[in-house]
């Protein structure tokens, strides 16, 4: 399937972009050996130990840049999930009654060990996920450590967090995370859950289980009590078994809106607390008085960061008609300098698409864009022979009705639409069932605030894009989900606030 897709992609007409010839960067690869030893097969991490699955089914995780199998791992069964939930339940009493200051120390330890082992984890993440080492090294790993460090500090300050005196944890948290930021999404889930005194069973995505399993080793190094963190691998079946388990008190899911919807249905009528961080189709709105060079960088960062595998990606560029030509020229020129290739090369800007399935989806939606009449453009760039790749791609002449303007592509594909007035920009930006993020580019301060006030999105980046911080709440409006991760707000999904009284 991957081969077919590559062929399709190669046949797309692309206009040549000027590539530098004089100053070619020699390969600067990070050593794969820095990832540490990858076992040939993995079981689950339950009750502080690596254990075999009760079933016999194993899945394989591949390096999406080479299609080579990295390891086998267990397809978690209902029985595996049950064992993990039991282990978490058993650990809950002691963990939740531990003084907050002691829980904090475990989280601080984890933060420090993540920092110590960040190179190893960054390389492992790049290998398993396909994302460039520049990003895992400079974005993912620093944020992972920062997230644990931030929430560590909350563990003994919950009485002062504004959720009433002595807020209580919920119990066992079932957490299902996606493949786009495997370790970072783990941190977003695990850190607040542990800080508030919950124990967790986490299921990493089936294409990127390796850093979560490595994280289990870090939990052991940190001396975390057995059963406080349990990791069960597998695909959506394992995830469904976990979220459906009658003895979990909390479900946290990050992933697609359809799966989030099905989990919300599954939990209807139960007392499980649910937080969802789902899809998006963010508008990145550029006015004619924008700082154009920085806007171009923001657009590029908005849609090509992490191959566009970002729920809050700025996938719809809304550009004011008066500046459209100028901006698109600059954007194309800039796209021509993006370096696509080996994720482990320190100079790579765009790595591999995470899986054959995702590549197929991107390819299909891009084809739909052309069929519906939008004009496709991508810079000329050589793609590696093996692996899953997709050129950074731009569609112009896109209308609100096109699929590529409505559906989340989750790939390096930008749809360009235009507007004439601020009101029209707001109307188009909000015209989606999603509401995760938005971008505004203008030098006029009062217009920024006017726009920010009207955009129905949980995160609004003005004159910047795709910035994240553990202190800053993140999450969506409408069908992009509910609950917030990060900041004081990120504690609430893990606390019992039924009797909330400030």
């Amino acid at each position: 399937m991957a081969k077919t897709n590559k062929k399709t992609e190669a046949e797309q007409p692309v206009q040549p972009a000027k590539a530098s010839g004089l100053f070619e960067y020699a390969p600067a690869p990070e050593s794969p050996a820095a990832a540490g030893e990858i076992a040939t097969s993995y079981g689950h991490f339950i009750g502080g130990r690596f254990v075999d699955s009760s079933g016999s089914e194993a899945l394989k995780t591949v390096n999406p840049a080479t299609e080579q199998v990295l390891a086998e791992f267990a397809q978690g069964t209902e029985e595996d999930v049950d064992r993990a939930v039991q282990a978490a339940r058993k650990a809950f009493a002691d963990w939740s009654s531990l003084p907050g200051s002691e829980r904090a120390k475990y989280l601080f330890r984890i933060a420090r060990i993540v920092q110590e082992r960040s190179r190893e984890l960054a390389v492992l993440e790049s290998i398993d996920n396909g994302k460039p080492i520049r990003e895992t090294r400079d974005v993912d790993l620093p944020l992972v450590a920062a997230h644990f460090f931030y929430y560590a500090g909350w563990a003994d300050k919950l009485d002062f967090a504004g959720f009433g005196p002595n807020p209580r944890p919920l119990g066992v948290a079932a957490q299902v995370i996606p493949w786009n930021f495997p370790l970072l999404m783990l941190a977003w889930k695990v850190a607040p859950a542990l800080a508030t005194g919950n124990t967790v069973v986490l299921k990493p995505a089936e294409t990127t289980p390796l850093t979560a399993l490595r994280f289990a080793e870090i939990c052991r190094q940190a001396g975390l009590p057995d059963g406080v963190v349990n990791i069960v691998t597998g695909d959506g079946r394992t995830g469904a078994a976990l979220t459906a388990h009658p003895d979990v008190n909390k479900v946290a899911f990050t992933g697609s809106t359809p799966v989030g919807r099905s989990i919300a249905k599954q939990l209807a009528g139960t007392r499980k607390k649910l937080s969802l961080e789902l899809g998006g189709k963010a508008a990145n709105i550029v006015f004619d008085d924008a700082p154009l060079d920085q806007a171009v960088e923001g657009i590029v960062n908005g849609i090509f960061f992490n191959q566009g595998h970002v729920c809050c990606a700025g996938s719809r560029l809304l550009v004011q008609e008066s500046v459209q030509d100028e901006l698109l020229d600059a954007l194309k020129r800039r796209m021509g300098t993006l370096r696509v290739g080996d994720p482990l090369d320190k100079n790579t800007d765009i790595g591999a698409i995470n899986s054959a399935a995702q590549l197929a989806r991107i390819t299909e939606l891009a084809a739909a864009g052309e069929q519906e009449g939008a004009e496709r453009w991508a810079p000329e760039c050589e793609l590696p022979g093996a692996g899953y790749w997709f050129r950074p791609t731009l569609f112009t002449g896109v209308s609100q009705a096109h699929r590529i303007a409505r559906e989340e592509i989750f790939g390096p594909v930008l749809s360009v639409l235009t507007f004439r007035t601020p009101a029209e920009a707001v109307e188009k930006a909000n015209n989606t069932p999603y509401g995760l993020s938005a971008g505004i580019w203008t030098e006029k301060g009062s217009r920024i605030l006017w726009m920010a006030n009207r955009l129905r999105a949980g995160v609004v980046w003005a004159n910047t894009f795709n910035k994240f911080d553990p202190t800053s709440p993140f999450g969506g409006y409408k069908e992009s989900g509910y609950g917030r991760e990060g900041g004081r707000h990120g504690l609430e999904p893990y606390l019992n606030v039924e009797a909330l009284d400030v």
Partner: protein, 328 residues
């Protein structure tokens, strides 16, 4: 730059002539340029700074960087002997390795131009002279023009003038513009040729990136051949973001007018690692067209020895030390 696109008639640059028709038109034009977001600009420069330049790319870049150096001495204590010694260094940077390229220019005060010219005769190395009451620029026009004319008459190939930052910061853009025009005129030689004019902004004194973008356009419209960041005499000299911004300005100016202008960061660039960052910025912002000493220079003195040590390391595999490069 929509304003520009509308004004640009093609590749002649004539479309911008009206811009300086009056103080009002010039101000309107300069203040109509797109703003610069400081955080975004600095973040882009920092990201480019993470490029990893290894092996063959590094060897290429080191030699390119050496060939782009305006090897500079601008001290009150400069003597004929010091300048001669610097010229010798520029001609043959590494006595142990004759394959090391020579530098682009030797940069001195006007009274040292003749000495340098003499020492460099026939080498192809340019003699650059600072002028216009460098570094402060605080002198009357007659003095500045005489300063320039003296250097040109002594044989300077290039003139590095400073703008009147006081006039610029108080919004007297036309005054700055006309001063550059006048100095440009003073660069003419009797035979009709002219010394190349580099215009120094002293970006550390302009304070904001918006000012740097405006100064870049003002200067380019006035006819500068090069725009240069700094004198090296103030607290903040060349930085990657300010240089990146100027690279964007020359890129946009060529797109609007067809005229290509060079860029020279100066001051504070001391290590090979620094130089690599600048070359990466040139490469990814402007590409091949600017990757030559004709269009990009480093105003530096100590940078050369660090480049030479790195060069020796690449050649021999051993780390070099300061005793293995010459001190001039």
């Amino acid at each position: 730059m929509s304003t520009l696109a509308a004004n640009a008639p093609g590749a002649t640059g004539g479309g911008l002539a009206d811009v300086a028709a009056s103080e009002a038109t010039l101000r309107r034009f300069l203040h109509g340029l797109p703003g610069v977001d400081q955080v975004g600009l600095e973040s882009r420069a920092a990201t480019l700074g993470t490029r990893s330049i290894k092996t063959t790319a590094k060897a290429f870049a080191i030699d390119l960087a050496i060939s782009m150096i305006d090897l500079t001495t601008l001290e009150g204590a400069d003597t004929v002997g010091k300048v001669r010694s610097l010229c010798a260094k520029g001609l043959s940077p590494d006595p142990s390795d004759r394959t090391a390229p020579q530098v682009a220019a030797i940069c001195v005060y006007p009274d040292m131009v003749a000495t340098a010219k003499d020492a460099l005769r026939g080498s192809g190395i340019q003699v650059a002279s600072v002028a216009t009451a460098f570094p402060s620029g605080r002198a009357g026009m007659p003095v500045k023009l005489a300063d320039t004319a003296e250097a040109v008459a002594a044989g300077a190939d290039e003139i590095d003038m400073v703008i009147d930052r006081g006039a610029f910061l108080s919004g007297r853009y036309l005054e700055v513009f006309e001063e550059i025009r006048a100095v440009k005129e003073a660069c003419r030689r009797p035979d009709g040729s002219a010394a190349h004019l580099k215009v120094i902004f002293e970006t550390g004194e302009l304070q904001t990136y918006d000012n740097v973008r405006r100064a870049s356009w003002l200067t380019m419209i006035a006819g500068a051949d090069f725009i240069k960041t700094s004198t090296g005499k103030v607290a903040v000299n060349a930085t990657p973001p300010v240089t990146l911004l100027m690279l964007e300005a020359v890129r946009d100016f060529r797109a609007a007018t067809g005229t290509q202008v060079g860029v020279k960061p100066a001051g504070g660039i001391r290590t090979t690692k620094d130089a690599m960052k600048y070359l990466v910025m040139v490469n990814e912002t402007l590409g091949d067209d600017w990757l030559s000493p004709h269009w990009f220079r480093f105003g530096a003195s100590s940078l050369l020895n660090d480049l030479l040590m790195q060069r020796q390391k690449l050649r021999t595999g051993r780390y070099s030390g300061p005793d293995y490069v010459t001190v001039d």
